[in-house]
Symmetry: C2
Subunit: 140 residues, 2 copies
DNA sequence: GCTGATAGTAAACTAAATTTACTACATGTC
DNA sequence: GACATGTAGTAAATTTAGTTTACTATCAGC
């Protein structure tokens, strides 16, 4: 069943990311925080957009951002005077946040390498293309 | 990035399962409950094994089972006299639980059909084989 | 029949998501 | 330019979920 396979694969990836963060010293990050670091990361994005990206509510995202702000990973800046929308507060990564994002990227690159080594580059590329195609189809 | 693709795909599958359950009238089931119905389902299994399958703790699984028991989806039976282990209480689906499991299976079959239609049978089969291979590799 | 380990359970606590509700700003209408 | 309506962001209160801690019953080895 494709459901079980996708579940297993994703849970494995998530567990590896969390382990990698732990190993790199980011011991205060927990699973829900990963929603914020989701590609392409929160830098410059608005809370509402991050919420949509993570398929959660603005309120839940707001709590995550507050938590990450207290832990020193992100900050929310008031809209600049020349900004188009005076309501929009952009999220920015702190230096610590940038390092955490890099640690996540490192783990993902390792995982990609492991899959490519195991499946072969072309087969791996085909899987990614297929998943991408299904994502496109889902968004219609 | 394979991480983002797997996350997106799995979250989509999970959302479709929950929608399908809602539509079929199982409105009291929530996302965590799906861990229990995970392939091959809880019928006859022991709580500890279900916990391991869902990669969670025995305690968390116990709470899920209690919740599902209160909602009338499963029941936990005392070990029979002839059972090998007097500590082991097996989980069993009620008729309602069986119907819910069938509803989940229906959604999954629909999803499989949609993927196969979109990607072609052989390409879809190849993806499943690859994911299966990675699962095998992860369990070493 | 002790001893240490395992299966199951649950209360208490902590973490996370949802519901509800509010403020500030934006946009369109008259 | 005043007013109505909608949107972005925020947060308290509540509900839901998971972890920590701790207990009982059974088992397996000696």
């Amino acid at each position: 069943m494709i459901g079980a396979l996708l579940r297993y694969a994703w849970q494995g990836v998530r567990a590896q990311i969390l382990d990698g963060l732990q190993a790199a010293g980011f011991t205060d990050l927990r699973a829900p925080h990963l929603d914020v670091f989701q590609h392409p990361g929160p830098e410059g994005a608005r809370p509402g957009d991050l919420a949509e990206r993570a398929r959660t509510t603005k309120q839940a995202m707001n709590q995550l951002l507050r938590s990450l702000e207290e832990l020193g990973y992100v900050e929310r800046r008031s809209p600049s005077a020349k900004s188009a929308d005076g309501r929009a507060r952009a999220v920015h990564l702190t230096p610590r946040g940038v390092r955490a994002a890099a640690a996540i990227r490192d783990v993902l690159l390792e995982i990609e390498a492991a899959w490519a080594a195991r499946l072969g580059a072309s087969r791996f590329a085909d899987i990614k293309a297929a998943l991408e195609e299904m994502r496109g189809a889902a968004e219609r």
